[in-house]
């Protein structure tokens, strides 16, 4: 019982019951941007140990310590697993610390900064996958995938939903270990009671949307990867993404364990609430899902037509499940697992736990031992992205000077409609991606509730371009699946990679025929605005371009 001398144990850990100062660490460089603060690589001065410091942004003067940080700390203190990032300690910077704007805090401790100290990981998956020439072996993919699922399962068992699974939140070290990180959006849920998911947290529904876009991003990103790698590391992530995603779709935030969980019915009640918002703001995303997984109907999801929101979101036309078609280059077991993970009906969807038992992991090539994996020089999405952004920004500027928003831009081909949702939801760094896009849109206006910017070049009618996003074989113009959907900043590493200029398709711009948006092209032969701009504007993404060529995205 209590006799386990816990007192002593704690005393050893932290003799004064206070936090150490951040001065114990020497910041080396910034390696990321978390949900609510920067992440630095740092060295503990005393031991020389390399750690990651995540700064907790304290900008709400009225509500003190951010509740998001409280959630993350609570969750991280609860989770101890080899596939979940370990929170080592929390340190504070007591004195007045100058922040970026040169303001200095007035010495009050609560105005100082707080840092979470994590173990340092060499890569994040996005960064790693984005390395020029990077190619994962099947055994390696399975190895990562298995670790991801193990970590996810552990979270679910402990009633934690990560809610933000994506490449840049999957950290990998040079021992081949993969760990889930950034629990800034994660929530605990209670297995037998849902009172904590009531109106009290209504603001979170907006989060869901944000989350949703994130996931959408991630989803498309994965589509890219799916095409790049022959046997889908991507599908792995696609799967995990979808497990998270479906809980957004089908069960809101309750439970991405999927599965026949007793509180499915409850979850659906929440679904109906959040669903309206999703529906209102991003029907395109839903359509994307349906295009891939088939439209929800009684056959694949018994009971779905009885749900209150069904009439609102049922697809306008019947949609066939196209998984097997789209991912036909996957081997049988991968496809099988993918299919089970992408099942719309939450009660039929596979859980992380069962997924670990899937044939996929027990057939040749078997998942390799993490230790056997090659070591790479450190790579973080943040850094590669930053470089690319700067480059792109530069190009954009040059281009904008050339093109003064020609009026015809208001009528643009229906690009992957996802695109326009992002700028508002994710006010990223200010660098527009579409040459013609008014800079305002990308500005820091945080209007989750606002439908979408009216007028302007990014107002694309939805639905015009089904499937173009991920079918490498459709639309002769091929693979520019990534161009549209990604706005700046958050964008995928491959954003614009398929764009004219670099790609083998576009023929350096003019002839692009809107090809960047795949199938849409035939309908819009005069895809002018991008055509002319593209050669100059989108070209510079050499990494992406190289990759496309290298991996023969056209198949």
């Amino acid at each position: 019982m209590a006799a386990a001398a816990p007192g002593q144990l704690n005393l050893d850990e932290s003799p004064s019951w206070g936090s150490r100062s951040v001065d114990c660490f020497e910041k080396l460089e910034q390696i990321g941007e978390g949900t609510y603060g920067q992440v630095y690589m740092a060295k503990e001065i005393r031991t020389g140990e390399i750690v990651a410091l995540k700064k907790i942004r304290m900008d709400n003067e009225r509500e003190g310590f951010p509740i998001t940080a409280i959630r993350e700390i609570k969750i991280l203190k609860k989770l101890h697993h080899e596939n979940v990032i370990q929170l080592k300690e929390i340190v504070t910077s007591p004195g007045p610390e100058k922040d970026e704007q040169g303001r200095s805090a007035d010495g009050n401790k609560y105005k100082g900064s707080i840092y979470m100290v994590f173990e340092y990981m060499d890569h994040d998956l996005t960064g790693l996958a984005d390395r020029p020439g990077m190619r994962f072996s099947v055994a390696q993919i399975k190895c990562y995938m298995r670790q991801l699922l193990t970590g996810l399962h552990y979270c679910h068992v402990n009633q934690v939903l990560h809610r933000d699974i994506k490449g840049s939140n999957l950290l990998i070290d040079n021992e081949g270990n993969l760990k889930l990180a950034d629990f800034g959006l994660a929530r605990s849920f209670s297995g037998d009671h849902n009172a904590n998911l009531t109106n009290r947290v209504i603001t979170l529904w907006y989060r869901v949307i944000m989350l949703w876009t994130d996931l959408q991003n991630c989803y498309l990103e994965l589509q890219n990867m799916a095409q790049l790698s022959t046997c889908g590391l991507s599908d792995a992530f696609l799967q995990s993404f979808c497990m998270e995603n479906q809980f957004c779709l089908g069960k809101t935030r309750m439970n991405m364990m999927g599965l026949s969980h007793p509180f499915d019915a409850l979850a659906l009640r929440f679904f109906s609430q959040s669903f309206d918002m999703i529906l209102l703001h991003m029907p395109e995303q839903l359509n994307k899902i349906f295009e891939l997984c088939g439209g929800p109907d009684e056959a694949i999801w018994p009971g779905v037509t009885k749900m209150p929101w069904y009439t609102n979101f049922k697809p306008t036309r019947p949609m066939k499940k196209r998984l097997r078609e789209v991912f036909k280059h996957f081997d049988r077991h991968a496809l099988e697992l993918l299919e089970r993970m992408l099942t719309l009906d939450p009660s039929q969807r596979i859980s992380a736990k069962d997924a670990l038992d899937a044939e996929y992991f027990w057939n040749d090539p078997l998942p390799c031992d993490p230790k056997s994996l090659p070591k790479y020089e450190s790579s973080h999405e943040f850094q590669t992205k930053k470089k690319r952004q700067q480059q792109r920004q530069h190009e954009e500027m040059a281009k904008r000077q050339k093109l003064q928003h020609p009026p015809q831009h208001a009528r643009l081909p229906p690009i992957q409609p996802t695109g326009q949702a992002h700028p508002q939801l994710r006010p990223g760094p200010n660098q527009p991606i579409h040459n013609s896009q008014p800079p305002v849109v990308a500005g820091p206006s945080h209007h989750y509730g606002k439908p979408r910017p009216s007028g302007g070049p990014n107002r694309y009618p939805p639905g015009g371009n089904p499937s173009g996003g991920y079918n490498p074989n459709r639309g002769g113009q091929g693979g520019g699946y990534s161009g549209g959907p990604y706005p700046q900043g958050r964008g995928p590493p491959y954003a614009a990679s398929g764009m004219p200029g670099a790609g083998p398709r576009g023929g350096g711009g003019g002839g692009g025929s809107g090809g960047g948006y795949g199938v849409g092209a035939p309908n819009y032969p005069q895809a002018g605005p991008y055509g002319s701009g593209s050669g100059a504007g989108r070209g510079p993404n050499m990494i992406g371009g190289n990759r496309n060529q290298q991996y023969g995205w056209q198949q």
Partner: protein
Amino acid sequence: MNLQVMQLLKPKADTFDVSTSDDEGPQGDLKYLPCPPLNSEACNCEREMAANFWTSSHFKQLLEPEEVDVVPSLDKEKGLTLEEFKMIKIHMTNYISRLGQQCKVRQRVVATAITYFRRVYTRKSMTEYDPLLVAPTCLYLASKAEESTVQARHVIFYIKKIHKKFVYDLKDILEMEMKLLEALNYYLVVYHPYRALSQLLQDVGMADLTFLCWSLINDSYKMDLILIYPPYMIALACIYIASVLKEKDTTAWFEELHVDMNVVKNISMEILDFYDAYRQPIPDERINAALSKLSSKP
């Protein structure tokens, strides 16, 4: 003995809130399920993966009674006695629950806040950390940690309703929040006896005693039991007291549980002793005298 105890219990159970808000009865939302070894359902096959009470910081931080009943040295220098120290803690516990009622937070938030409050004073002195500021800040922090946030300015508003002479403002609360987080070493998850209670009562078939047990648990927060014993043991002790009071025979059931009955009985005795010692409400003068010792210059 039974009769005597019942008399003691009766008014207490009524005065101390059974449920601080309408949305939560005894079956309320207590999401962190302690996992007593006796409950096979709670200990599912995933046990080795699951973070539960036994792997929690709460468990690791359990203290010995001797460690809790220590007047911090700074306070001792000012002449604060152990009795006064305990008295202030009881007084502030009541204060937190009244404030919690005002703010309409769940009992769980109140219980967590009290736990934070008591934990802080195993490490910090009342001289440095004024209980009058720490108490509301604990409630504020607990409301965040338990996902039912009360805005800081509302906390202030409600304090002023019950405590006109409150001298602190918003800034002080936020500043104290940071200090508390540090003092608590950022361990914010607290397990409570309430959850275990409803399961156990169903198992023993005494669901009709829920109200009584619930009240006993509420009162247990006026002591430091939550810092010393695993929550389900406190729940068992309360069930034990209730069953003795109501003359129900639970001997066989307790035997089946394979818990250390000595511990259960010890906790029960502590609770009964507490009722005995604090039969009368503590006079305000004594509280004020103790608090003024703290603010005196040495």
